[in-house]
C-alpha cells in the first residue's frame, strides 16, 4: 500500500500487483478483512494504472548532455524531409 501512496510504482509493477490481488481474491481462502483490504488496494492500483494510461499529453524531450549533466529541452520536431 505504501509503495502506491508514494507513487513509486511503474505501470507494469502496478499491473503485476493488481494481478496478484485478483488471483488472491479469486482463490477465496482469505479472511473477509484481508479481502476488503485487497479490494481497496486493487481499486487504488487500477485508478493509478488508468491515470497513467490516460495521460494525454505526450512528454517528448530532447536530452542534451552538458558539463552540468543532462538537460532536458522540449522537443519541437523539424520536418524538412531529408530522409534521414
Amino acid at each position: 500500500m505504501d509503495s502506491i501512496n508514494n507513487g513509486e510504482l511503474s505501470f507494469e509493477q502496478a499491473m503485476e500487483r493488481l494481478d496478484s490481488i485478483v488471483s488472491k481474491l479469486e482463490n477465496g481462502d482469505v479472511p473477509l478483512e484481508t479481502a476488503i483490504e485487497l479490494f481497496q488496494e486493487g481499486m487504488k492500483l487500477s485508478r493509478l494504472c488508468g491515470s497513467k494510461l490516460e495521460q494525454v499529453e505526450q512528454k517528448i524531450e530532447m536530452l542534451i548532455e552538458t558539463e552540468q549533466g543532462f538537460q532536458k529541452k522540449t522537443f519541437a520536431p523539424v520536418n524538412d524531409d531529408k530522409g534521414e
Partner: protein, 449 residues
C-alpha cells in the same frame, strides 16, 4: 658422363603446377576487381567468363553451386569484385580463377569491409542470440537516438503517440551520416546508459544509400550497441537494408515506425487488460462477500439459534439415553464375569489332590504287580542256573574222586593239604579225609621215593 635428366610427362608437370598453386595461401582465397567478358552461362549451370582489366585478363569459372545465390546477373562488361581461388585446368595446362562469390563493383569496397567486419564480430560471438536482452513489455520511457530532423524521428514520434501517448520520450540528437556519425552515435548510447531513465533505446535513421547508412556498419557503433545495458532496437533504413548495427542490436526493426511499435505496447491493449483486471477484482470481491454472507446465513439458520429450548430438551433426552445405556452395559459386564468364574472353577476342580492320590494308588498297585511278576521269573531263572552249576560242581567234586579210593591228607589243624613228605615228621598227627569220613593218624615213618 652427364647425369641422365628425369623426363616428366605433361600431365605430371600440370599436376605439379596445380599442386604448387593450390598450396599457395594468397591464391587460395583472393579478391579480384575486373570486368566480365566472354560470358557464357552453360546449360549445366556453370558460368564461364574472362575477367579483365585494362592490362590483363584471366579465365574464370563460377560453378553452379556458387552462382545460385548471386545477388545480381552478370553481363558482358559488368564491373565486379570476385572472390575465389586460382588453380590449373590440367588437361589444357592453363590456370584459371575459380570464383566462389561475386558482386558488382563500385560499392564493392564497402561491401568487402561489411563482410569482413560481420564475420569478425560474428566469430567473436557479438551477434549471439544468448547475448540479446529482452525488450521490456512496458518501458517507463523510450530513448531515441537519431537525427532530430527528418523522417525517422517523425515516424517514431507519430507511432509512439498513436500507440501510447503517455509514454515519456527522450531524444538524443546525433549525426547519422558523415565521418562524425559513428562517434556521435557511440557517445549517445553511452550517455543514454548513464542517464538511466529509459528502459529501451531506438537507434537508427531513415533510408539512404549504402554510403549514407555507413555509420551503422562501423565497428565502434556495433560494439557500443552490444555493450549497452539498456536493450536496443535498431531501425536503419528500409526493410531490405541490413547493417552491422542490426546484427548487434537486441532486436532489429525493419523501419523506424516498426521500431516504435516494438518499443511500446498498444494503449488499447493495456486499457482492455486493465478493464479485465478491474472486472475480475469486482467479481472476486462480490463472490467473496456472497460466500461469507451465505455462510453467516447458514449459521443463523442452525437449530441452535432457531429453537434453543428444543435444543436443550434434545440434549436432556440424549443424556437419559446415555444413562440407560451405561446401566445396561454394567449389567452385561457383571454377567459375563460370573460365567467366566464358573468355568474356571470346573477347571480348578479337575486339578484336586484327592484325585491325584487315587490315580497314584492305582499306578502303585500296577507297578507292584509288575514287580512281583518280574521277581518270580527272575527266581525261576536263577534256580535253573543253580541246578546247572550244581551238576557241574558235582562232576568236579573231590568227593567223587575220593569215592574211588583216594584220600586227602591234611595237617593236624586241617588247614594245610599235605602234598609232600617234606615237613612231615614221624610222630606228627595227620588227618586223612576219605569219601565218607576222616581218619586221624599218626605218622610212623617218613620215606621219600
Amino acid at each position: 658422363m652427364a647425369n641422365q635428366p628425369r623426363i616428366f610427362s605433361i600431365k605430371e608437370l600440370n599436376r605439379y603446377i596445380r599442386m604448387k598453386l593450390e598450396s599457395d595461401s594468397l591464391l587460395g582465397d583472393i579478391w579480384l576487381r575486373g570486368e566480365i567478358s566472354n560470358f557464357t552461362h552453360h546449360s549445366s549451370g556453370h558460368m564461364y567468363f574472362t575477367l579483365k582489366d585494362k592490362d590483363s585478363r584471366v579465365k574464370s569459372i563460377m560453378f553452379a553451386s556458387h552462382n545460385q545465390r548471386l545477388p545480381f546477373i552478370p553481363k558482358e562488361g559488368t564491373k565486379v569484385l570476385a572472390r575465389g581461388n586460382v588453380s590449373v585446368y590440367e588437361r589444357d595446362g592453363n590456370y584459371q580463377f575459380y570464383v566462389t562469390a561475386m558482386q558488382p563493383d563500385g560499392i564493392g569496397s564497402l561491401y568487402l569491409a561489411f563482410e569482413q567486419l560481420k564475420s569478425k564480430l560474428d566469430a567473436e560471438g557479438l551477434f549471439d542470440a544468448a547475448r540479446k536482452r529482452p525488450i521490456p513489455a512496458h518501458p517507463r520511457a523510450v530513448g531515441v537516438i537519431t537525427s532530430p530532423t527528418g523522417a525517422a524521428v517523425r515516424d517514431i514520434l507519430i507511432t509512439l503517440q498513436r500507440r501510447f501517448p503517455s509514454i515519456p520520450v527522450y531524444i538524443y540528437p546525433v549525426l547519422v551520416q558523415g565521418t562524425q556519425a559513428a562517434p556521435s552515435i557511440v557517445k549517445a548510447i553511452e550517455a543514454m546508459n548513464r542517464f538511466g531513465e529509459t528502459d529501451v533505446l531506438i537507434v537508427g535513421r531513415g533510408g539512404g544509400s549504402l554510403e549514407e547508412l555507413w555509420a551503422f556498419n562501423e565497428e565502434a557503433v556495433a560494439r557500443s550497441i552490444a555493450a549497452s545495458v539498456i536493450p536496443i532496437i535498431s531501425a536503419v533504413g528500409h526493410e531490405t537494408d541490413f547493417t552491422i548495427a542490426d546484427f548487434a542490436a537486441d532486436l532489429r526493426a525493419a523501419t523506424p515506425t516498426a521500431a516504435a511499435e516494438l518499443a511500446v505496447p498498444h494503449l488499447s491493449e493495456l486499457r482492455s487488460r486493465l478493464e479485465r483486471q478491474l472486472q475480475r477484482l469486482h467479481q472476486g470481491m462480490r463472490y467473496k462477500l456472497q460466500e461469507d454472507r451465505e455462510k453467516l446465513q447458514r449459521l443463523q439458520r442452525s437449530p441452535f439459534f432457531l429453537y434453543p429450548r428444543k435444543y436443550l430438551l434434545e440434549q436432556a433426552e440424549r443424556l437419559d439415553r446415555l444413562t440407560d445405556k451405561l446401566e445396561q452395559r454394567t449389567r452385561l459386564t457383571a454377567e459375563r464375569g460370573h460365567t467366566r468364574l464358573a468355568r474356571l472353577r470346573t477347571a480348578l476342580a479337575s486339578h484336586h489332590p484327592g484325585e491325584r492320590a487315587a490315580y497314584a494308588a492305582k499306578r502303585r498297585e500296577g507297578l507292584s504287580k509288575q514287580l512281583e511278576h518280574a521277581m518270580a521269573s527272575l527266581l525261576k531263572e536263577r534256580k535253573l542256573a543253580l541246578h546247572g552249576t550244581i551238576r557241574q560242581l558235582d562232576a568236579l567234586s573231590p568227593l567223587k574222586v575220593m569215592s574211588r579210593g583216594y584220600g586227602l591228607v591234611y595237617d593236624e589243624n586241617e588247614d594245610r593239604l599235605i602234598k609232600s613228605v617234606a615237613g612231615v615228621e614221624p610222630g606228627n598227627i595227620v588227618k586223612v579225609k576219605v569219601a565218607d569220613g576222616r581218619l586221624d593218624c599218626r605218622v610212623l615213618d617218613v620215606k621219600g621215593d
